[in-house]
Subunit: 454 residues, 3 copies
């Protein structure tokens, strides 16, 4: 019996318009260009004896565009693997990200870029990167919900997700003064547990009625590889996008590149080991190969050393593949946790482990390895933090990981309860994983087509 | 009755060889490296006290590569949506662009980079970007013609399109001294109306005979999303690729990023509103989400402010989606305008509106907002233009938009008449939108395959 | 009769783990960050009066990411064209590259970046680019073997391929002091002949039994175009990634961009000419359009002039398409050379010709064209090479091409013999070109799916 109604003709446009108009008003009140993007730059640079190349734009724009590709093509195509939900995978990913980044510019702006004198948020390229990062947390959560929620629910997930992200990020980066350039903690650990908690609250006991729609077909698995590869290739840019100029960006790229390479090899090994004839499984290749990048998120900018990065990638490929083979089915059966994309294995656990690994690496950081000035730069040990010891820093890093997890779990549980209200147009249990619910699939509205039919 | 012959075994190779040989000769006569790409740079930089990083290459190369992706993968895959014309969509796009950029280097070189002393065109990275831009105009026009013309006709469309583009660009940028960094006027408005006028002249009363080929299938719509997303993600690079170093590039990126985000949300809203159950239509998600980028083309480098960009994107998402739902079918029925991809809604109208929006933004530009030097820099108010007032500049910007439209409409009509000659191998009315006409589809010529069959 | 066993449950994980653990140990012993990626940079730059923008990272990172995309998406998707081997095409490409780049960092490090005092290899962004380059040689070889070997065999091909590459590269670049920025010789010529020699040794007389799996379907050809276009678009970055800062990178981009454009036009012309009705063949569009980039690999940084680049591209498009139509079937029949992707036409021959073209261009280089300092810079005529004449340099360039070819042919023959051992789990003659052999295709292991079935 289908007692759900996926009619969203009023709710979806209403939510889109209300929130978009709110964005216009709030941008009008708060958001301005920062000094590097404002036409006053020409005078500013003369006063400060700068040249155009000193503009932060040139240090970060290539990385920004790579991150942008990860958000829209990477996450989007990774979620096209379901045979009948490719439109929803890439399309709702697009909607979430486009709305979310606007709200992120505001939320993160209030916490990090608000000028106390003028009451304005001054934005530049780094704000755009951070907005994309912030959105990534919500897209990870979407991975756990894929195929089981309506686009209106996803807008709610995004609105609260961005808000929670901005708060936990403020606590972790500013109050605890942790380092987390690639966001093992604030992005992956938070986003993963946020999605898992929502999914747990929204448990569907009769989801097996949609089993015919679950699973992939040959071509949809190839589409998903587009997502995998763009995530994999550009992860060095992700982890280095907001690290320090110079060695910070350089080192974060090297570490991430190396860790990811090791993940591929061990994911292949474990995937083969778990099949009776040694065949590989596309799920593992699409996902577990990325785990090294997730886990290097926090320590990418640290002097973890190339072999340290290799070891992290080595174990993450193993742990993540193991998760897909053993843990996700176990969680689904025993914990009633329906995690469509397995974000538990790719984001939640590797993100959490990445946070703790970084805590250990930070605790052992020393002047001899970093140089005195290098240590101060890498961990930003200035001002009130100048006297913080590295073991203390390690403790704070570990605490930050716990904060991210707690925000994800508690925030997700609350948002899940909100989404249980019967007003959001979510699909019935026998109607999940099916684009028919929210997309015009059969009749094609190609405009010329309409005219030709007349 | 099929009275058309798609035999192009003589005409296509002939056109390709004649034009390619002409290119070799003209490149030999005219084109040389500019001082930043010539091996003399090492001496040049010493004389002018420059370092390697001052080479324009480092300011523009990342943007160039993004633009390059938009031209070949963005436009190419956006046009793979038809179920039986994906080869033609991405393949002819490739051909047009590869030929067009060579001719564009020459045409734009003669107008903009010709050294009066030596009679040579000195090229560098900015010329490559401009050649890609120039090609974009022809690819937009191809969108209106998709599936209805032969590759030989497309070569003709490209040859004349590049020529017309170079002339209108010279009039708009040099004679009228307009600003148009992202080409709302010179690229989108011109290209859109150029394609529409050609399509109008080539009206096929019996196109409904190809109705079985029109429309998309599930997978072809996912392929088209590759195009959409790469266009969407890299549009900030498009609009900033040739703006001023420093704040110019930085601001153009921010404005475009913001406008595009708003377009997605409002396009989703309107798409849902127009369906009886609120379902989304892939056509709108694939196209109307991009309208904000088109309309920000001219004003991206202006101080339109972030909320101004958001408002532009807001309305463009609405207008463009509305165009796909209402205007294209209306034009097809009443104006006999067969616009396969709906370039009217994505390029022609948003481009034209973008031109007029920029005229207004320019007219209200002031020293207080831009700073005195910033205003001069942004609008290049130097030399004979030093005394031009901003309201005058606004008037010229509006005039430039009209020039672009006029060139598109008149040029397109003339080219359309040329294409009506019965020598080009175009398909019959019941043979449109079908790769069979120009591609070896059934029998596969995989070279090893051939050998295995022996 | 199928007397082969594709059971790799022990061999594949064993090889992956043994080699990955060896990598960890060797990285631990040898690999460290170089001074630009080490946290000491902050002190280093103060001592040497540098700023962050002088870090090589900012000169090379955008190009590196483009190269990275070519390796994983470019080569990977180009090899998805087979209708039943897309997983193997993109998936094994991923495995080869991820393992290979680690071994390449070590091998190239020992030859080029080993510090004699400390015994360590200090790596930075240029090492990552070179590792990707090194991997490209093996991926080219994979193109000749596609569908006919097991993943364990591919790991062996990669291990030996990287090793051979590092040695021939050392001979060509260091001992012969050749220039080969984009690797016509060391990458394409070597990789192509390496793959062909292996394929020749592994000749399968009954491969026609797998004919039903050979060949493409409509969608797989569109997938392959993703690979083609990313290779095509980013080839300018490939050829310029490790050229000199400033004019070297700038010029290499221009030359490659131009050569590639011409290849497209002439490949289309020849493809059309060879079909009875003038129809185009996707094989040629996917491959021969790239030949201009291959052939410009060595001379991209030289003052070949824009029309010189155009001429190279012009002929390469012709030669490569001709190869696909005539030569590959001929080689398969008469030489028993089964070259799945036709790497003979895209890499081996254009790479070899590119090497010889560069020899000629180098021999005619002069102070008047390059400037005195420019000639020294471009050919690195310093130290013991300061007195080398350009005609001598040209001779060495030609010798280098022969070295690359010899290494490919002899090395490939030896590796082919090793791969004939009956322990590698390769498929039977009637089981080639089929993902079923090494991938779980029918039953889907989506983890949630498994749980839903319970």
């Amino acid at each position: 019996m289908n007692n759900k109604n996926t009619y969203i003709r009023i709710s979806l446009p209403a939510v889109c318009f209300v929130w978009q108009i709110a964005m216009v008003l709030l941008f009008g009140i708060f958001i301005r260009y920062n000094e590097e993007a404002d036409a006053h730059w020409v005078e500013h640079k003369q006063q400060h004896n700068l040249t155009d190349i000193d503009n932060d734009f040139y240090f970060r724009y290539p990385s920004f565009q790579d991150v942008h590709v990860m958000i829209f093509v990477g996450f989007g195509f990774l979620m096209t693997f379901l045979k009948r939900y490719s439109f929803g995978g890439v399309g709702f990913n697009f909607l979430i990200a486009a709305f979310g980044l606007q709200w992120a510019l505001l939320m993160q702006g209030w916490f990090h870029s608000l000028d106390q004198d003028t009451g304005k948020i001054y934005i530049g390229i780094e704000n755009l990167i951070n907005a994309d990062f912030c959105v990534a947390g919500c897209l990870i959560a979407y991975g756990a919900l894929l195929g089981k929620v309506s686009p209106v629910q996803l807008m709610v997930v995004t609105l609260f997700g961005i808000t929670l992200y901005a708060v936990e990020e403020y606590i972790i980066l500013n109050l605890l003064h942790c380092r987390d350039a690639g966001g093992s903690m604030v992005i992956h650990c938070f986003g993963g547990y946020y999605g898992l908690a929502i999914s747990w609250v929204l448990y569907r006991p009769n989801l097996h009625q949609s089993k015919h729609n679950e699973g992939s077909v040959y071509h949809s698995d190839v589409f998903a590889m587009i997502g995998t590869l763009f995530l994999w290739m550009f992860w060095p840019s992700f982890n280095s996008a907001i690290t320090n100029h110079g060695d910070g960006q350089h080192r974060a790229v090297i570490n991430t590149y190396i860790a990811l390479a090791a993940s591929v090899v061990t994911a292949v090994a474990i995937s083969s080991m778990f099949h009776s004839k040694g065949k590989l499984d596309m799920v593992h290749i699409q996902n577990a190969t990325l785990a090294g990048g997730v886990a290097m998120g926090t320590s990418a900018e640290f002097m973890i050393s190339p072999y340290g990065a290799l070891i992290v990638g080595f174990f993450m490929g193993i742990i993540s593949t193991f998760g897909y083979v053993i843990v996700t089915p176990f969680l689904a059966k025993s914990l009633k946790l329906q995690d469509t994309c397995g974000v538990h294995n790719l984001h939640a656990v590797p993100g959490m482990l990445g946070g703790f690994i970084a805590a250990i690496v930070a605790a052992f950081a020393s002047d001899s390895v970093y140089s005195h000035q290098g240590l101060i730069n890498t961990f930003d040990l200035t001002g009130e933090y100048a006297s913080r010891t590295m073991s203390t820093q390690g403790g704070y890093q570990a605490a930050g990981t716990c904060v991210a997890m707690a925000f994800g779990l508690i925030g997700g549980a609350i948002v899940g309860l909100i989404l249980k209200l019967p007003i959001w147009g979510d699909p019935a249990d026998d109607n999940c994983f099916d684009d028919e619910a929210y997309w015009e699939v059969r009749a094609c509205f190609r405009p010329l087509d309409v005219a030709l039919a007349l």
